[in-house]
Symmetry: C2
Subunit: 331 residues, 2 copies
C-alpha cells in the first residue's frame, strides 16, 4: 500500500509498532521491520544509553530494513539522562524517532540537525498542533481505545482522527483500537496515513513476553480492560485482572491518595511478573480494547500480510461496489 506515510518514511506498509516499554526489544522490532512495517525500540527499556546503542546494533544484525527508537519523556523521581539517550540514537544512525510523554521541543534541534524524522505521539488535537508547530514530521494520535495513557478527554479514534486531520497538514498515524485490515481502511478513510498497533504486536510469536500474556490477549474481549489512576490525572488503560479491579475499587470507594494506591500496586510483584513469568494476576499490564479483535497468536509477518490482504479486499470488494463507478455525466 502506498500512502503519505509510506512515501515520507520509506516504509513498505502503512503499519507502525510504536514504542512499548519492556516489550520493544530487538527481537520484536526486527521482526516488524522484516515484515515491512515500522517498529520502534524503546530507549528507556535499556538501563543506559550505551546499552541502547548495543540494542540498536543487535536489531540491525537481525534486519536490514529501517526501524526507529521511541524516546518517552516523563517526569521521574530519578533523573533520566535524556540528552545522552538522544545522543546514542543519533550516533547510532537511527533516522526516525517516536517521541511521547511530553513536548519533544528540547530534542528537536539535535534530531533535525542529524536528519532524524520525528513522529510525536499525542492524545489530543491541541497537543498535536503544538508538536506540528515545533516541526515534527508526523503525529501518532492516540484514541481513547488505546493501551497505556489515553489522557482525560476520552475521544475515540472515530472522532479524534478526523478532528486531527482537519487541523494538521503533516501525516497522521492513527493509534488505539487497531488490529486488522478493516481498521486500517477505516483509519485511511478518516484521514490517517497509517495505523499504529501495540496490543496486536504483543500477541505475536516474536514478542518477548510470556505465552500466557499472548493467550490472555486472544481470550480477552473488548470489555476486558479498565482505566485506572483517572483520579490522579494519570489515566492508564490496563488489562482487567484482580489487581486492576482492586485498584479501581479502592480508588473509587475509599478516596485513597495516589501514594496509597501506588503502594498497593507495588505490593504486588508488578508488570514484569506478568510479562516475563506469565503470572497474569500478579500485576498491572497494559492492554488496549483492540484485544477484542485479536483471535490468534501469529508471526509479525502473518499479522502484516493478513492486514494488507484484508485491507485490499475491503477496498476493492466491499467499498468500491457500493458506489457507482461510472463517470458522472457531463451534462
Amino acid at each position: 500500500m502506498k500512502t503519505r506515510f509510506t512515501e515520507l518514511f520509506g516504509i513498505e506498509h502503512p503499519i507502525v509498532c510504536g514504542g512499548m516499554t519492556g516489550v520493544g526489544s530487538a527481537e520484536l522490532i526486527s521482526a516488524v521491520a522484516n515484515a515491512g512495517a515500522l517498529g520502534f525500540l524503546t530507549a528507556l527499556t535499556q538501563p543506559t544509553p550505551e546499552l541502547l546503542a548495543k540494542e540498536i546494533q543487535r536489531c540491525r544484525n537481525m534486519t536490514d530494513k529501517p526501524f526507529g527508537v521511541n524516546l518517552t519523556i516523563l517526569p521521574t523521581i530519578n533523573p533520566v539522562p535524556y540528552d545522552e539517550y538522544r545522543q546514542a540514537i543519533v550516533e547510532s544512525g537511527i533516522k526516525v524517532v517516536e517521541t511521547a510523554g511530553s513536548s519533544p521541543e528540547p530534542h528537536m534541534p539535535d534530531f533535525k540537525a542529524a536528519g532524524v524524522k520525528v513522529i510525536h505521539k499525542a492524545v489530543a488535537v491541541r497537543h498535536a498542533l503544538k508538536a506540528q508547530r515545533l516541526g515534527v514530521d508526523a503525529i501518532s494520535i492516540d484514541g481513547f481505545e488505546c493501551a497505556g495513557h489515553p489522557g482525560d478527554d476520552d475521544i475515540p479514534g472515530l472522532v479524534l482522527i478526523p478532528a486531527a486531520a482537519r487541523h494538521l497538514n503533516i501525516p497522521i498515524i492513527a493509534s488505539g483500537g487497531f488490529a486488522n485490515g478493516a481498521g486500517l481502511v477505516a483509519a485511511l478513510a478518516l484521514g490517517a496515513s497509517a495505523i499504529n498497533m501495540g496490543t496486536r504486536f504483543i500477541a505475536t510469536h516474536e514478542a518477548p513476553v510470556h505465552e500466557n500474556v499472548k493467550s490472555q490477549i486472544v481470550a480477552n474481549s473488548e470489555r476486558d480492560t479498565l482505566i485506572v489512576f483517572r483520579e490522579f490525572h494519570n489515566s492508564a488503560r490496563v488489562a482487567r485482572n484482580s489487581v486492576s479491579e482492586e485498584i479501581l475499587r479502592i480508588s473509587q470507594e475509599e478516596g485513597k491518595s495516589f501514594e496509597d494506591i501506588a503502594h498497593l500496586a507495588s505490593g504486588r510483584r508488578g508488570r514484569e511478573e506478568v510479562l516475563l513469568k506469565g503470572n497474569m494476576e500478579d500485576g498491572l499490564w497494559w492492554a488496549g480494547q483492540s484485544q477484542g479483535l485479536i483471535h490468534e497468536v501469529a508471526s509479525c509477518q502473518e499479522v502484516v500480510d493478513t492486514i494488507l490482504k484484508d485491507a485490499r479486499n475491503i477496498i476493492l470488494e466491499r467499498l468500491v461496489p457500493t458506489v457507482d463507478t461510472r463517470p458522472e455525466p457531463v451534462l
Copy 2:
C-alpha cells in the same frame, strides 16, 4: 450507494436518522426521507397513540418516501400504553420500526405478523446477539461516542462495530460519532451497512429546535460533552454546560443519591427550555462527540448529498489509489 442496508430496507442511501425524543417530528423526518435517508419519528414524543397516528399522517403528507417510527421501551413511573402505541404504528402502515431501551421481545410477534421490519438499538455485542435471536432484521449498534445512553462498557465504534460484525449475520447500522462521508466509509470498512446520525441531523434547518442549539453544536468541539449519571448506571452523554458540569461535580464530590441529583436537574427548567427556547444553560441536552465534526448548519438534503459525495471521493480517490489494482499474477 448500495449496501445490504439499502437493499433490505429499500432506502436510497445508507444513512439513518434514529429516534430522538422531542426532536424526531414530521418536519425533520420527512426532510430526512426526502433526502433519501431513513428517519424515525419518535412514538413517545406524542402524548397519546392517537396523536402518534396523526403525526405519521402529517409526515406522510410531507413525503412519499419511506420513514419509520422509533419505539423506546423504558421503565417509567407512569405506565406507558406500549401496546396501543405499537397498534397505532402497525395500523398506520409503517413498515420499519426502531426499538430501543430494552428488549423488543414483547413487540416482535405483532410487528412480524404485520410485515414490519425491526431495527433494534444496542450498546453491546451481547445485547445485539440477543436481539438477533429474537428475529430483528438489523442492529443499530451504539458506540461510546454517541449522544444519550452509551451504556457502561465504554467501547467506541472502531472496536464495537467490527466486534459486532464478527458475531452478527444481520445488517449493522453504526451509530455514535458519525457526521460525515469519512465516517460513512469507515463504518462500511468496519463491517456496517449504514450509519446512524443524531447530532448531525439536529444541526439542520429542518430540525424543530431553537437556532441557538444548532449554533452551539457548530461551535462545540469534540471535547464539549460530558457523561452524567454514571454512578447510577444510567450513563447519559450530554452537552457540556453549567448544568451538566454541576451535576457531575455534585455526583462525584458529595456522593448524593440519584433522587438528589434528579431534583437538582429538574430544578432547572429542563431540556425543553434549551431545545425550544434556546436558553442553553437552562437544562441538560443530549449531544454526541460528533459535534466536533459538524461545522455548519445545513439542510437535510445538503447533509446527505455532501456525505454521499465525500464518501464516493474517499473510496475512489483516497482509498483505491493506495492499493495496486492490477490483478494478482496467476503464476
